[in-house]
Structure formats: C-alpha cells, structure tokens
C-alpha cells in the first residue's frame, strides 16, 4: 500500500477547507474582498468538499504522497465556488446563498477573484514546474468546457435529448472530470481515461437529479414555469406535441404566466401521464449505476475503490 488504510477512511473536507481559507487570507489583499470571500467560502465549505476530495483521492490512488496536494484540492474548490457563484448570479434564483444578498457587482468581483485564486494557489504549490504547468492547462481547458456548456444552457435553445446530454456533460460533469484528472495528473504526470468516464457519469447523474428536483419544485424555482429546457421539460413537450395543449402554448410564449398560473394541478397530471419524470429519473439512475460500475473496474487497489464508492454513495 502506498498510503495507510486509516487515511482512506477520512473525509478530507476539513483540511481542504482550512487550506482554502489560508489561500484567501494570503491571496486577497483588499480587506473587504477578503472578508466577503471568507463569508462565501464558509457557506460553501460547510458542506463536504466533494471536488477537492476527489482530487486528493486520485492523487493518492495513483501514487502521490506529498502534502502539496492540499493546495491543489483547495484550488479546485475555489474554482468550483466561483462557477457556483456566477451560475447563481446568472440564474438569480437562489436566495439561500450569501452572495445573493450582496450587491451584484461586488459578488461578481468576488467570483472573479476565486477564479484567479484557483490558478494562483495551484501555481504556488511545490510540484515541479512541468507538472504545475500541465495541471494549470488542465484546469483552464476543463473550465472552458464548463463555460461552453453554461453558454448553451443560458441560451436555452435545446431541442433534443442528445443536445441536453452534450450540454450537461460540458456544464456540470466537466468539473468532476477536472477534479479527478487533476489529482491523477499531479500524481503520475498523465490523466487516465477510466477516471474521466466515472466522473462524467457522476456529473450527468447529479445534474439530472437537479433538473428532476427543479421540475417537481412547487415553490418558485421550477424549470417548467421558468421556461427552462431540461430533460424532463423536453420529454414533456415532446409528449404534448400536436395536442394543442396549454402547456406547450405557455412554454413557447403564446400564453403568459398570468393566464396559466392556476393550472399547476393540470401541469402535475400532464407530467405524470407523459412519463417525462420517470424517464429522467431512470436516465439519472442509469448514469449513477454506470458510474459505480466503472469505479468497481478501476485498475487500482481495492481500498481506494471502496473509498471512492463510499464517497459517491455517502
């Protein structure tokens, strides 16, 4: 064993969170920026740092032993936080997060700060220059994929399931791929296709679950009422096509919200009858089970596979 088994059972979130907080203290020189960035990071880091954990685990899995991985994992969390913030600012639909209570221009500036803090922390690590360069290039390339996927999502012109899959692979799954590949790259100097595939499936499943919840949510944030094209919405529209249904008219803008706001019961019935929710739920589970299946076949020691499996299921 390259690493002791006790360490594998740990959740590394506390260590990653501490390292990110140190990065904020060192990297953000302006007092208010630092203070508000700490507020944003504290909110984010109250939950498990899945992305950073994946980076550390892959680093260990592929033979990495150094302490410098903590800065790299914290950099990954900083980048994910920045993109979360930007996504919320663009959507304007998440009142729970502290950055929604901040002035928009300020919140955007903090998010921008986290983008550069991620690069800064990664480049400040003690990895060899060649490896740091490759890691920074990977971080940037995957981020560009994410921005491309986000653009497709914002344009909201998806017509088919294939387009939806391509969009969520870019927008959501690419960040999990990046987190896993970064740890692998820093450990052994190259990425591995098998870790890409499991992370891709996990990201797809997670985004589908998010979209399922967002069409069954009856308290404001609902993708159908917001005319947002996700998989369950596309399936519903496909089912209603040619039926001259009010839901199609509303979605295409031929009816206003005021004209249909009392039809939530009818909407729920149409959703049930269409099988759209069932289809999205089945597709989500297929991606999730495929992810677990790939983890089981990874060419690494059993203890690492078990830890990764637990990380995904927990």
């Amino acid at each position: 064993m390259a690493n002791d088994k006790g360490e594998l059972a740990l959740d590394w979130s506390t260590k990653i969170a501490e390292t990110l907080m140190q990065g904020i203290e060192k990297g953000f020189n302006q007092a208010q920026l630092r203070e508000m960035a700490v507020e944003c990071a504290s909110y984010k880091l109250a939950n498990r740092t899945l992305f950073g954990n994946l980076t550390v685990l892959h680093y260990r899995m592929y033979g990495g032993e150094g302490e410098e991985i903590w800065e790299a994992a914290a950099a990954v969390e900083a980048l994910v936080l920045s993109l979360d913030m930007i996504d919320d600012l663009q959507d304007g639909d998440n009142d729970k997060v502290p950055w929604s209570a901040m002035r928009g221009d300020i919140a955007l500036n903090i998010a921008l700060g986290f983008v550069f803090l991620a690069q800064h922390m990664l480049l400040q690590t003690n990895f060899s220059p060649e490896r740091k360069h490759a890691a920074a290039a990977l971080l940037n390339a995957q981020s560009l994929t994410t921005v491309g996927g986000q653009m497709t999502d914002l344009l909201n012109k998806l017509q088919t399931e294939e387009e939806y899959m391509e969009m969520i692979s870019g927008k959501s799954a690419s960040l999990l791929v990046m987190a896993s590949q970064l740890g692998t790259l820093l450990a052994c100097g190259e990425t591995k296709i098998e870790t890409t595939e499991f992370a891709l499936q996990l990201g797809i499943a997670a985004q589908m679950k998010n979209d399922i919840l967002d069409i069954t949510n009856h308290s404001g944030k609902n993708d159908f009422w917001n005319r947002k094209r996700t998989l369950p919405v596309l399936m519903l529209l496909d089912y209603l096509e040619g039926e001259n249904h009010w839901a199609s008219d509303y979605f295409e803008g031929r009816l206003s919200y005021e004209e249909v706001k009392d039809k939530s019961k009818e909407f729920e019935e149409a959703l049930e009858q269409s099988g759209a929710l069932a289809y999205a739920s089945v597709r989500m589970r297929i991606a999730y089970y495929r992810c677990l299946e790939i983890v089981e076949t990874l060419p690494v020691e059993t203890d690492y596979k078990r830890t990764l499996d637990e990380m995904i299921r927990a």
Partner: protein
Amino acid sequence: MLKEAIAMLTKNKGTWLEFQSGQMQFAGLGALEQRALKDIFCKSEEEDLLRSKALCVWD
C-alpha cells in the same frame, strides 16, 4: 426501447407487478436499465439514491 418500456409502465400500472416479479422483461435493455426501471416503478432503491450527497453538488 427505454422510452417504450417507460411508456408501457406509465400507462398500465398493472404491468408493474409483472415487471417486479420477473414475469415481464424488456428484451433489449441491459441490466442497468432494468435495475433503474425497477427503482422507479417498484421503488426498490429510490430513497438511498436521493440521500447521496454526491448527487446534490448542484442542488
């Protein structure tokens, strides 16, 4: 094939028991697809999945 299976199970709830018991199978669907269908229409593992925090990273 998956869409057809879901359409059948959605329209006719009488098929759920047959599917759950193994009397009815959807040839052409793989093991993962069958398992996922059972999760939804037979409620076999749904709750476990919904508790997975790894699937809540964008909630």
